[in-house]
Symmetry: C2
Subunit: 714 residues, 2 copies
């Protein structure tokens, strides 16, 4: 991979990989009276753990039909990991005992820590210190643990579902939700490599775990369930590593409705909610965002199977016209292309299906093909050869136990056609249903490598897979991050004059302007620039000039300018503590479109970038496009395309279309500048960036800085 997607393994990854592959496990707190213990023990049998399992109960005796040790030190052979089922009070002693036995990894079920108020938080801090002192890496507390499905190692508290081994790693802070996802994956025949929960994340969080399993060659996709992205920079590195390995991260992020924190931009007030920023960030990082547990499992399962898709659309063959209609509607709604078939494909189909009328995609070969499945297979093979088909779907009921006798022979034939598309050939049932072991075995027997259920969820997952693949192709040509600018004198805010100068120095087109200190200078400037003009008071302390009478518009004569100069500077002088540098004179602009481009440094997300239409347009609900910096040219074009008022740029009511290259160039220059202003930037905004055909110019600039870190460079 080129550009930004460099190989950045996260710290501790190697140690966590070892933690996740224990050869020898101690079940500490094992007891016949505990449902947790009984369930955990069952998992070892169900999964066929091939390492050593040691039961530890401080009273010894027999547990789960086996003799139990009274302490870990009694085991007498090396143990890799302790699954701690003991309660919080017994935990310190149990951990010390484990450490004394040379155990360096522990999964801790006990609750009553960080989730339980200030006392719990203190207890958790003590736990971390204890573990550090003992050189033990602790997963949890308040955590169900993990199952390494591929290596058959279940360090899970309570009973896990029967899983199908495969390439999807499930990583979730919530253990209950990890279990739910895993159970669902099992009945969809989606193979899992790991099921990992991190609980209170005292020492190890979901990013650590995700980074560790990413390095396992057998892991082909990550399915993450998260409540928040706590560390944007580490998450960005994780995403970059995943992209470098061409492994998708599919994510469901919840808590969006609770986190109604809004981002405030200068001038325009609160424009957007946090969730849109999450969405923008994940899209930029190449993370596939989904909005249901079902989609999380299905999408990760699909991508683990296909890997990155080539460019192209979806090809569909079905014996049901209704299914074709449903797919066409859904594909359009979620942006999955259904390309017209190539002429060679059409010619081939015309041979196969001489009596059919239009040969469209989705291809309805009608119920008549039920009698002759070879037609179905041949049609599939024809579509598989079409250069526009990236994913091929055969729509048919699955050979469930109830139906296998009726449909297996037909599906055997259909499968031969589907195989022409390799791993990108899918068998799809119209509605959601389970794919149990019986069905999976029949499918495997007839050579169907991936089956999915439900047209809606299948089309949605294919859409996600296509968008991720396209992102991956684009990411390879991303531009590198630039160095921070060296700037002097970063006060709380800059005057407009200084802001406009900064813009101009960095390649942005700026309206002609003069900074004047007397009314005579103002008149001279007005004459030079040409009437009509505008006059604005210039002071770094005054951001909202119009509200204070600090702006005079549409001045037609020398007298107008003289009066206005006195008025706006007097207005500025009336503001307590404001230092008035003079007034800014610029030609009055009319017509054209106004955009707002702005960047803020968000405390959580870092440099964040917004583009929207200005003027009354800011009142169109949510019509602002957001990204994290850096952005490149294609991303800026995408941002503009996202705006609901996008058509305005094509020219309306006789106004000329905007020069898009020039506009995009200006916005990219602005984004690069904002990116290089460094961590002390609070916000920078152009409002408006005026666009009138080929003319693009900033009419205004607001730059504000945060206070320097105490002791840091100013």
């Amino acid at each position: 991979m080129d550009g930004t997607l460099v190989d950045v393994p996260l710290e501790a990854s190697a140690r966590l990989r070892a933690l996740l592959s224990p050869q020898s496990i101690a079940l500490v707190g094992a007891s016949d009276r505990s449902g947790w213990s009984t369930g955990s023990f069952t998992n070892f049998e169900l999964l066929g753990f091939e390492g050593s399992l040691h039961l530890v109960n401080r009273n010894g005796g027999e547990v789960h039909g086996h003799p139990a040790f009274t302490s870990c030190t009694e085991i007498g052979e090396p143990v890799d990991l302790a699954l701690m089922l003991v309660g919080a009070p017994a935990l310190p002693v149990a951990l010390a005992d484990a450490a004394a036995a040379g155990i360096r990894s522990a999964v801790v079920l006990a609750a009553g820590f960080g989730e339980a108020g200030p006392d719990g938080a203190r207890a958790q801090q003590e736990l971390v210190e204890l573990c550090r002192g003992l050189d033990v890496t602790c997963v949890g507390p308040n955590c169900l643990g993990f199952v390494n499905v591929l290596d058959r190692a279940p360090a899970w508290s309570g009973q896990m579902a029967s899983l199908v081994p495969g390439g999807v790693a499930v990583v979730s802070q919530s253990g209950a939700t990890a279990h739910t996802i895993a159970s669902f994956a099992a009945v969809q025949n989606i193979g899992l490599s790991h099921v990992i929960s991190t609980g209170n994340e005292a020492m190890v969080d979901t990013i650590d775990m995700a980074a560790a399993v990413l390095e396992d060659d057998r892991v082909r996709a990550l399915a993450m369930f998260v409540e928040s992205i706590r560390d944007v920079e580490r998450f960005r590195l994780l995403a970059a590593r995943a992209a470098g390995l061409e492994k998708p991260i599919v994510m469901m992020k919840v808590g969006t409705s609770a986190l109604a924190a809004e981002i405030a931009l200068t001038h325009t007030g609160a424009l957007v909610g946090d969730d849109r920023l999450v969405g923008a960030a994940l899209r930029q990082f190449g993370v596939v965002r989904v909005h249901s547990l079902e989609q999380l499992a299905i999408t990760a399962g699909l991508l683990a199977h296909t890997g990155p898709l080539p460019p192209g659309g979806l090809g569909v063959v079905s014996i049901s016209g209704g299914a074709c209609d449903i797919i066409a509607d859904r594909a359009e709604a979620v942006g999955v292309p259904l390309e017209p078939l190539a002429e060679t494909t059409q010619a081939r189909l015309a041979e196969l299906l001489p009596s059919y009328g239009t040969l469209r995609n989705p291809l309805d070969i009608t119920g008549a093909a039920s009698e002759n499945p070879q037609i179905f297979a041949d049609a599939l093979a024809a579509l598989a050869g079409d250069p526009s088909v990236a994913v091929l779907a055969a729509i048919h009921v699955l050979p469930t136990a109830e139906r296998a006798a009726r449909f297996r022979p037909r599906l055997e034939v259909i499968s031969t056609g589907l195989r022409a598309a390799g791993p990108r050939g899918l068998l799809v049932d119209q509605t959601f249903g389970e794919i149990d072991r019986h069905t999976a075995t029949v499918l495997e027997g007839i050579g169907v490598t991936h089956a999915m259920t439900g047209l809606r969820d299948t089309v949605d997952a294919i859409g996600c897979a296509m968008r991720w693949s396209a992102w991956l192709r684009r990411a390879r040509t991303a531009t590198p991050v630039e160095d921070e600018l060296e700037l002097d004198g970063r006060d709380v805010a800059w005057s407009e004059a200084r802001g406009l100068r900064l813009l101009a120095e960095h390649g942005l087109p700026v309206v002609p302007w003069r900074l004047v200190e007397t009314s005579e200078e103002a008149v001279a400037a007005a004459r030079e620039l040409g009437y009509p003009v505008v006059l604005k008071v210039v002071s770094p302390e005054i951001l909202h000039k119009s509200d204070l009478g600090g702006v005079a518009l549409d001045l037609q004569t020398d007298d107008d300018v003289t009066d206005a100069f006195d008025r706006v500077t007097a207005a500025g002088a009336g503001v307590a503590g404001a230092h008035v540098e003079g007034a800014l004179v610029a030609p009055m602009r009319r017509g054209g479109l106004e955009l707002i481009v702005g960047a803020i440094r968000d405390a959580h997300w870092g440099p964040t970038f917004a583009v929207g239409f200005g003027g009354v347009w800011v009142h169109v609900a949510d019509d602002t496009s957001l990204r994290l910096l850096p952005v490149d040219e294609s991303e800026v074009r995408e941002m503009l395309d996202e705006l609901r008022g996008r058509a305005l740029l094509d020219g309306v009511r006789g106004s000329p279309p905007a020069d898009m290259d020039r506009l995009v160039g200006a916005i990219v220059a602005f984004a690069r500048l904002a990116e290089r202003l460094g961590p002390r930037l609070a916000s920078i905004e152009i409002n408006p960036l005026r666009v009138d055909g080929a003319t693009v110019e900033a009419l205004d600039a607001v730059v504000a800085w945060s206070a320097p870190e105490p002791g840091g460079p100013s």
Copy 2:
């Protein structure tokens, strides 16, 4: 029911009800060599048909292990319905034979009719004439038939899935899709009353069938799958009847992407796609629209179980915090209220859960409650008593065969709490899964009356149910339709002057204006109205005045007006065939907001009504709200609320908020007028309807008529 929801049984309903409940059926074309026949025959056994089944094969002999008649007339006892499996060539003779045997109803499988080009269409017309002559009602052709699940009568070609009897009637033009929906419903334990397909609909369509089953008291909800709504008026009657019976119609309509036909409004060009109009119409008719087969079955199943819901929100109890997060996000996204709990409920919960912190809804009672399910049950009972809770959901895995041993005892306790909410208490599994017979039996045994799977689909279905219930409450107060206006001289188009007069006569606020014929009159009018003024040429033949120089704005003096009068009338006179009546003088308006309100008579949908912002706002993608006429005041308010630029009406940039009562009043007056203009109206539009605080006035009016029907009243 009051108002418009009158009892309007559709024609032929009684005859179709008889057709759908046959006591005696002839399987015509029965043959061991036909998969259709074998499947059909199997259905009679599977369903336990209690009437008489007669096999007919023109060669006689033994079929499906029973002796076959060589013709229907041979049967020798009354037969209610013939399920015709014979091909198109043999059909006329077979139908005549059936009719001769006194059979009055037939389901016809044969293809090669309306779906097969012009020849097929002719054959279908001949088939209809034959059936009419024989007094036979034909369902199809090219149709799989129907299953009356409740009366155990399967007139279905090919094998049907094993169904659960219940209150949902599935009605679909496509037989394959009806079968898919029914199969899915079966594995979700959704009870069906009927599964009906109508094929080519030569004599009986989905509206007929839906109307017939609606009258069956055992049918509680309709699940319809349709490709188009061919007859809006009959469909409106069906929907009104369903509303009168308080039975929901849940509908999935496909073909939206293919039908990209757009509605053109005068001036503003193509604003909206057909699908938005479908959506608006269905919402107005109280039809619950869904976008997947799964949602179709699940939503109908839920509503068949609960009936109309009382006002209120969703109450949730779960042992998983992750599930609570997912529900909160989804509920917000799809508009399902999660109301704060009443103080009495909170007090009750505080007794039950003394150690818990915040008692929110969704209520996370944490995994600790796994050990003590009585807490779960008590919390459910507390929420069931909360006045804000219309639907109560307990989130828990279902007792599938694999899990029943572990979870049945716990669920037995939970169920006692859920029952406090009556039929509105639901057990919900977090992810999608099947509810097979085993699970359904366990659920029934422990008193759970309705279970659903998948948080996403459950919350979505509850949202649909709540919206339908709210619609039903509102529909009871709907206003009656008014009579058509008597108007003279409806030419192709009216001049603006005539249009403005019409608006004023019907209670709309209109800008002051004068029609003048000379420049002297124009100056006098300008002085009277006050400068500045606008001048527009008046001619019924000229709709787009500005394009031709027929409009002069911002005239400040008598001289301006004199010049402008000559200019605009000359411009008008230059248009071939235009009759210039003079010019219209009105005060020049500035500022404020511009709306467009318009109505057109759509060839398919009838009178259709649109509201949007004018000026540059028409370029905001899709920002127009649509309805079919009539609309009432609450609907107009809803339309305005749908606009993305809605916030503009609250006052922006220092402009005053719009007087909403006055604005809504003007729009309602316009809608009433448009409705009363009768079937000859082509379009009527105000562009702009200016709003500036308390001032609301029409600045323009365009009225166009279609040519009268030949021979009809002019």
